[in-house]
């Protein structure tokens, strides 16, 4: 492309198309379908752990903690959405943290600022943080994004506080992000133990103020079951954001289910947040 041309680039055309898709849906009272947005930033936080930021005014305005966004690769051989949890929102920028687990996430990790990508969201139900509380944000591994976002959300609520309790395999890659918002940050890696070790260690401090502790958690299934069990023994409210292999992400295909006391429910549309009681975990 030469400097003196006014012909829009393919990227600009696709971004204009993406904005038109969102505007057309919203102006008719509907939720925006899949649309193209711009990549604002991609950084590697740890080996194979990526923080990716998109520019999307709609998702930025509506995204809540534990909600996620479907990402679509550019490869027609990989048509399925990759659902990623929102980790932070700044103005019209929305960030995500994910691990490279296969070729699809590998392609997304290789994107650069200025590239385009198709997304849809925000999807799913958010954590309930309406009640004044000391929200204890318990994350394991790649379960950190919704809890960083929860810390950011709670930081804007003068009636509540947050205490981050993060567990890692090795590098404490998300501490600097959650520490911007959380009132207290504790973290641990496998050389010392896990998040339950940490919860035991700081249990007394959780009751220091007047606010009752409420656990919000996301991470590998065995970790979340252990956290739910820890909460159950103390009769502490506990909301868990589940992960499951998904199809559509918006509730039409019924591919991602979890067993609950109310039967088999969709993780994407009925969740991803469920209470300990709904899951029947003790």
């Amino acid at each position: 492309m030469t400097a003196d041309t006014f012909i829009p680039t393919a990227t600009e055309e696709r971004l204009a198309h993406g904005r038109a898709v969102v505007d057309a849906a919203v102006s008719h009272g509907f939720f925006p379908p899949r649309h193209t947005v711009e990549i604002a930033d991609v950084i590697e936080l740890d080996a194979g752990v990526i923080r990716l930021t998109i520019r999307d005014p709609y998702i930025a305005a509506h995204g809540r903690p534990a909600q996620f966004v479907d990402f679509f690769t550019h490869d027609p051989l990989k048509p399925m959405p990759r659902p990623f949890g929102i980790s932070e929102i700044q103005d019209d920028l929305v960030s995500f943290i994910f691990a490279v687990v296969g070729k699809g996430t590998g392609e997304l990790a290789g994107l650069k600022a200025g590239d385009v990508i198709d997304v849809m969201g925000p999807l799913g139900h958010a954590f309930d943080t309406k009640k004044p509380a000391n929200y204890v944000l318990v994350a394991g591994g790649l379960g950190v994004p919704p809890l960083i976002h929860a810390a950011q959300h709670i930081a804007g609520d003068e009636n509540s506080e947050s205490t981050a309790v993060f567990g890692y395999r090795k590098n404490h890659f998300a501490d600097e992000y959650v520490d911007r918002y959380a009132d207290r940050t504790y973290s641990i890696d496998e050389s010392e133990g896990n998040v339950v070790t940490l919860l035991d260690r700081i249990e007394n401090e959780l009751h220091d103020g007047d606010l009752p502790p409420v656990i919000l958690s996301c991470g590998p299934l065995p970790m979340m079951k252990a956290v739910a069990s820890w909460a159950a023994k103390r009769d502490m409210p506990c909301q868990l954001s589940l992960e499951q292999r998904m199809g559509c992400g918006y509730g039409t295909c019924v591919l991602c289910t979890t067993d609950t006391v109310n039967g088999r429910l969709k993780v994407c549309a009925d969740g991803p947040v469920f209470t300990r009681e709904q899951l029947g975990w003790e």
Binding site: H17, R34, P76, T252, V254, D259
Partner: protein, 319 residues
Amino acid sequence: MTATAANPETETVDLYDHEWKHPTVVAGVPWKNPVGTASGTFQYAAVRWFYDVSQLGAVTTKGVSPVPWEGNPGVRTAEGPASNINAVGLQNPGVDHYLVDDLPKLKKIGANVVANVAGHCDDDYAEVVAKLADSPADMLEINVSCPNVSGGLSVGADPVALDRLITRLRRMTDKPLIVKLTPNVTDITVPARAAVEAGADALSLINTVVGMRINTRTGKPIIDHVTGGVSGPAVLPIGLARVWQVRTALPDIPIIGLGGIDTGEKALEYLYAGANAVEVGAAALFDPVAPLRVACELDDLLDDRPELAAKLAEGKTWR
């Protein structure tokens, strides 16, 4: 990928105020355009936030069984090359719930509803059809081709069993009966002919193709049910060939073609293969508005094909 919401070359942004120009007729039932949803990929409660589903030619709802079914446990899906593999196992809240929830809601907004009927055995299908016979559903689709439930596929692959089932259901209702066929047979014209001779008013094809993926780290199947049904762009040529074969064998039976449709142009291929109408399935997993977008694109493509459009409007087909 041609089917994303992000390709300005092939796509219409204005999906919401389209004036339909090219209707079709399937087994005597008028469709305002030749595009519907494919059963199994449509949940009204999920899709209603994205567009007015009454704009489609028809809405084929998820299979309903006599009692609620929980579906298969564990991991139900994997990705294949240009495809999705699913093993839901027809999870649904049962026909009684359907009759007081989805069906009245869809009829209230003016949708043309095809109710998909599921079962493990003949008595299951009969129990559901008995309840739907007096309902406001516009057409009934008998799903004898689900690869993910016991008894789901066996009837559709066995012309004798199919004849017995459709003969029984035919006596129970005057509503148009569509029989949904599986591609997992040597010669699809055999069950197609059996269904038509037993009284089917129309055929829909194809259901999913049996497939699987294996996790090479564990050496085990990704889907807990081991195999599932493959759908998505990869199955387009399979669906087209099956529609062509059935149209060649049965020149007069109305056919709803499906498999791999994610653009108006691919829908047009099915119409040239001899279908009266088409359905959009897996594409809705990759973009919720895919069925509506395909309908808009096809409607515009038919402007330049008046001979085909005229045949469809009279309930006839290209071949």
